[in-house]
Symmetry: C2
Subunit: 490 residues, 2 copies
């Protein structure tokens, strides 16, 4: 297994190599579309299952809406048209035919669609067109629906997981009778995301609101969670939008309220995607490969036998099988890597690359002494542990690793978040010490744009927990009530 | 809630009405694409979860491949080109733009793709193009991968679940070192499907092989499961293909065997889709609506309170909550329908329409007597059951319903399968008594085509368990070694 480029040498190359070498994903024959490999997909499946449970516990159900959206739908919601939906895959024909000499297929020019179909970049339009028929009275509300789906945005510069033409995601689309209820929902879901990313991915996030210019096209408020990667760049890990009555008006979705008067329905939408895989990788991994938090690792424990003869292997395997039965009973996922085609050193490196949190090794001496060599992926440290009580040891170790990974990321973020009060300092820090900058801003789009132009830093969010304090904008010197969070971002 | 058209009056209309009234799915604004509504999707989710577990228990893992396939890929495998991949959605452009007066979006003519992309109708081509890089040596085999995905086939006549332009499915794609191993895999998976459909959907199936003319384009052997619907038409519920080395040759996928010599890889593919929802509905449901087998029902038990005052409701609800705790502990899914916007009679009809296997009702008298009124959906019978032992009663009842539903479908199939030995009888039966016809066939495509032309019946399969017997073809009079299964089909 080839060594990875070091993070300190070339962070971006390190990331690209890691994604491939850890067997997570690869480029496909289709520009910008990735293949998610079995190991990478098994991590996404864990994310899916945990999030799905959280959505259901908060009252949501899943449904499925069409992949295609009629082109005209994108003209309905004016902001949505302007701000979104430009880089899209467009379906114009519905049939292939065999060519004249029967050697290949070609597009049948006779089979042209009357109206082009757009492969969904997001589904507000088709879903709100559907909700029109679902909602008649206040009794039909709220609608709390989520969809797991693939979406396509024709990105020009793509990177595995972080920015791909096709990606997998979930999109919640809810409908409410009142503004308050919709706002509460949008707020609730950004907190569900924060809970998930912090407690499962082990990545601390800042919960905040987007500025007007960074909001989703069609939203009146966009909540987001922002995480800091090891290279000091921010990554938006999830968003939750309060859409007011914009889509209800565009698609004429009204309900009769308790007083029997028609009103437009209030909406939210919220989503996270396979981009979370990118956040997971970039927040924790090291120069040896992936580092997985135990709460998301498809394999929490890998066991490698060390032997010289078949007899030794049989002896050791028996002990391992006993352990596996106990691991299974304890709900710990494991893999016994008894491949005879690879040597232990190769296996160690491979599972290190794949980020398995705990590695057990057992050789003839360990067998004799009733011990295991226990290595943890996060700190790369090893210890010998008695077979007696090994399950409790592993259980505690997994929780310890989960906490440690989070703490490390938390401390990193703390060390790389700067309170800045002058423009010179702002420019210096954004240049020399990438990270979050907490600074006052005058609230105007002009200032925001100028700061972006001069430094490439954007306002990641206005943190929900930002304290009110009197200050002056770091750029314009105009008065400001609270600090916002700046960073260069993915 | 409107009454359904009776099955005896118009089976096809009954089906269409049921799908909508039971809240399973509806037509969308996009021709041929359906919206799967939350209740319908929750049944599909159960199918997904159970199948996924069965795939994993047989050694498979999930992965994800691109939605789009370059047009040229379809020209690679000659049979695949001829027999498939004609009615496809074709992506030709990748950008929209705002029109001149800024009122709408239009396709940007500048953004034309060099090579058109096809929305996958099935993924053999893109996956085998990917496998080329995954396989170097026999050590890399087998690859046992499955994908859950949406696919698009531009059907002209569509029906909800049975035939839609976009549908959801899983497609397994495996790669093997030997022909025997690949054949074993294809055989194993059709048996997994049969197990699933019989034990969860409660639908008996015939496992068989397809004739040459009914085989999947690119396959050398197609196994299938065939089920009989209540109108006497057959429905193909799943297929498993032995693809030989056809796709390996088309995409140049070779491996070095143990003797270090290059060989082409052997392949299988297998799939089931949301079409299973159609099979589920048509096999069991009645003129009152859906009938769900307990093993697939998202809600196994619904509880309806009957009361005149709030005091009564409170009293009853307390008893119901006690029951719910016990149901939960027993792993039985339930819903307490305490909506105050609908009367009990409405609720009874609604849950009947939605096919919930067991309905409990409780009124003041039941409360006094510590009893429940227990109604079963399959037989529409009711009984009073003491609160003591109610959980065991429900558990047994659910299993009993599952068995009864299967038995009913099994008996129906037995009563509608005819051994036929003359052409006159064949024509009479296919006309008057739709169902399966078990008859001798001479094994030629010509005879098969003529029978189809004259009667619309096709050979559904050559059953795997067909006994060898000497006979003569029902059409041509030529000798035949075994009977095959004919029917009109969905």
């Amino acid at each position: 297994m080839a060594k990875l480029t070091k993070r300190s040498e070339n962070y971006s190359q390190w990331y690209n190599e890691l994604v491939v070498q850890a067997d997570l994903a690869e480029q496909s024959a289709v520009r910008g579309c990735m293949v998610i490999k079995p190991y990478g997909y098994s991590i996404w499946e864990k994310m899916h299952d945990i999030l799905d449970k959280m959505f259901k516990e908060t009252g949501h159900t899943n449904a499925y809406f069409p992949l295609f959206i009629p082109k005209s739908f994108f003209s309905r919601e004016a902001d949505h048209v302007e701000g979104f939906a430009k880089e899209c895959a467009v379906v114009t024909h519905y049939r292939l035919r065999t060519n004249a000499d029967k050697t290949a297929v070609e597009v049948d020019p006779e089979a042209k669609l009357e109206e082009e179909l757009i492969v969904r970049p997001t589904s507000e339009t088709i879903i709100w067109n559907t909700y029109r028929n679902w909602v008649k009275s206040y009794r039909d509300l709220p609608i709390l629906v989520n969809q797991w789906a693939n979406v396509v945005r024709w990105e020009m510069r793509t990177r595995l997981f972080l920015r791909t033409a096709e990606f997998l995601w979930q999109e919640g689309h809810t409908a409410h009778a009142t503004k308050e209820e919709a706002m509460e929902e949008a707020d609730k879901m950004v907190h569900v995301y924060a809970d998930f990313v912090e407690n499962y991915l082990g990545v601390p996030v800042v919960i905040g609101r987007k500025t007007d210019s960074e909001r989703f096209a069609g939203a009146e408020e966009t909540f987001c969670i922002e995480a800091l990667m090891q290279d000091g760049k921010a990554l938006q890990a999830g968003t939750s939008h309060f859409l007011a009555q914009n889509f209800a008006k565009a698609f004429d979705v009204t309900f009769l309220n308790k007083e029997n008067k028609p009103e437009y329905v209030w909406a939210t939408s919220w989503g996270v995607s396979t981009r979370l895989m990118g956040a997971l990788i970039m927040a924790h991994s090291d120069d040896n490969g992936l580092v997985l938090p135990p709460h998301l690792a498809p394999i929490q424990v890998v066991i490698v036998p060390i032997y010289k003869s078949d007899d030794q292997l049989n002896m050791i395997s028996e002990r391992v099988h006993e352990l596996c039965a106990k691991l299974k009973a304890a709900g710990i996922s494991y893999k016994y890597d008894d491949r005879d085609t690879q040597r232990p050193g190769f296996k160690f490196a491979e599972w290190e690359m794949k980020g398995v949190p705990v590695r057990l090794a057992i050789g003839p001496n360990d067998y004799e002494n009733h011990t295991w060599e226990v290595a943890r992926r996060d700190t790369l440290t090893k210890e010998n542990v008695s077979d007696e009580g090994i399950i409790d040891h592993i259980k505690n170790l997994l929780e310890d690793i989960q906490k440690n990974i989070y703490k490390k990321a938390y401390d990193f973020r703390a060390a790389n978040t700067y309170k800045v009060d002058t423009w010179d300092e702002f420019k210096r820090i954004i240049e020399e010490k990438p990270g979050f900058i907490s600074a006052h801003w005058d609230g105007t789009a002009e200032t925001e744009a100028k700061i972006k132009e001069e430094t490439k830093a954007t306002i990641r969010c206005i943190p929900l927990d930002a304290e009110e304090e009197e200050g002056v904008c770091v750029y314009s010197g105009k008065p400001s009530k609270r600090r916002v969070l700046f960073a260069k971002a993915y």
